[in-house]
């Protein structure tokens, strides 16, 4: 049996540029995907609260379909199945961003809905009784308070989505795991490379956790 020290840990350094490229793609897809996810989440989360049945129904359908199917299946469907219908294959990075965006959007919609619903209904009544319309009250009174409550579950979702980008290696997105797999199959250094990859993910998620903690603390001080 080989001990941990028998592995060529220093050799990983040779592959840092390649892992760096992977890291950049992971970050690119995470950031852009989650931005899209947040916008979708805000729109569909508020749509879920709408009193118009059709809007409500569309939002519910979106959330249920996305939540009810695995992200891996969504990615494969978008990249391998959809082209057979529309006769066009999306670039894999774009497909990856769409999958992360649409997928996280469904979960974020539920986070948004929950946070908005958790605000005491006296707040809306106070705003409306002052003559402010529903939209202004939502924007100026409800949303800022709801947003504060969204931060912990949003952070949770961000971390989940960042890790989920690793699934995109199956649709050939050149992200971290994809790079690692390429390296490991050529150089037979799976232990070293996959350990390095795990550390890379941890570096991203720990940084995010720290940022979230600071944001929460800052908002806490405000009120």
């Amino acid at each position: 049996m080989r001990t941990l020290l028998n592995f060529n840990w220093v050799g990983v350094l040779d592959f840092l540029p390649q892992l760096g490229v992977g890291m950049l793609f992971t970050l690119l897809i995470s950031v852009v995907g989650l931005l899209i996810g947040f916008v979708l989440g805000a729109i569909f989360g508020l749509a879920r609260l709408s009193r118009f049945t059709l809007i409500n129904w569309i939002a519910t359908a979106y959330i249920e379909v996305v939540r009810g199917t695995p992200l891996l299946v969504q990615a494969i469907w978008l990249f391998f199945a959809l082209p057979l219908i529309i006769q066009y294959t999306l670039p894999s990075v774009l497909a990856g961003i769409i999958v992360i965006g649409v997928n996280s959007g469904a979960y974020i919609a539920e986070i948004v809905r929950g946070a908005v619903q958790s605000i005491d209904k006296g707040q809306m009544e106070a705003g409306r009784s002052l003559g402010m319309n529903h939209h202004i009250t939502m924007l100026k009174v409800i949303w800022p308070q709801a947003f504060k409550r969204m931060i912990p579950p949003l952070g949770n979702q961000f971390i989940i989505s960042i890790k989920d980008t690793s699934l995109l290696s199956v649709i050939l997105v050149p992200e971290l795991l994809f790079q690692a797999r390429t390296i490991a199959s050529n150089h037979f250094n799976a232990v070293e490379i996959y350990t390095a990859v795990a550390i890379c993910y941890l570096a991203i998620t720990l940084t995010l956790s720290g940022v979230l903690r600071l944001t929460e603390k800052r908002l806490e001080l405000q009120a």
């Binding site: 005491d120 707040q123 106070a126 409306r128 009784s129 003559g131 402010m132 504060k148 405000q222």
Partner: protein
Amino acid sequence: MIIDIKDLHKSFGTNEVLTSIDLSVDDGEVVCVIGPSGSGKSTLLRCMNRLEEATSGEVVVDGHRLTDPKVKIDTMRAEIGMVFQQFNLFPHKTVIENIMLAPQMVRRLGAEKARERGRALLRKVGLSDKELEYPSRLSGGQQQRVAIARALAMEPKIMLFDEPTSALDPELVGEVLAVMKDLALEGMTMVVVTHEMGFAREVGDRLIFMDEGRIVEEGIPGDVFDHPQETRTQAFLDKIL
């Protein structure tokens, strides 16, 4: 006559909470509404700015039919201040921001104008030194006074008070009632749902006793308190006085 309510009914599902209410309030009048809990007095008040929709009947405020679905409800509400039992201040905004928000958003007042108005109102309710505090740092009595200032910042024609002192510690009730009394003396039209019988007797022009969704008795507060005509009024007053 600034508020005119005719044959108002309100049901929640099959439960009728207001039954055939007729009530009018004159300009400058202070009307206090008393009655046991569940008698419909808060619901009646909330029909006066349509926080509750009437099931049937008519609510006319300042010449506009609130019960007309086409009425510009936000414009109407801007003229009708409301003070809630639970204050409902905006916790993410400072005291002055709480007061400035609606004048800026609805009346299109500039920030400086709104701030000036807010400061004047804080002086009026005796909280000039709390301008930059967040509501959570204030006592209940102070919060309620800010809530009154916030409503007044819209320069409403009518003020509705929904049990404004019921959530307060007893020693804080007086400061809120004092502000309300000043307001009454300035000639503000007020409808006050309250359990403060002293206030109703001293400040009110008219007293309304409600029970089981109906107006049981109304009259000059002193008369109703001292010589109630209805047995239900008598029974209620015996219990609380």
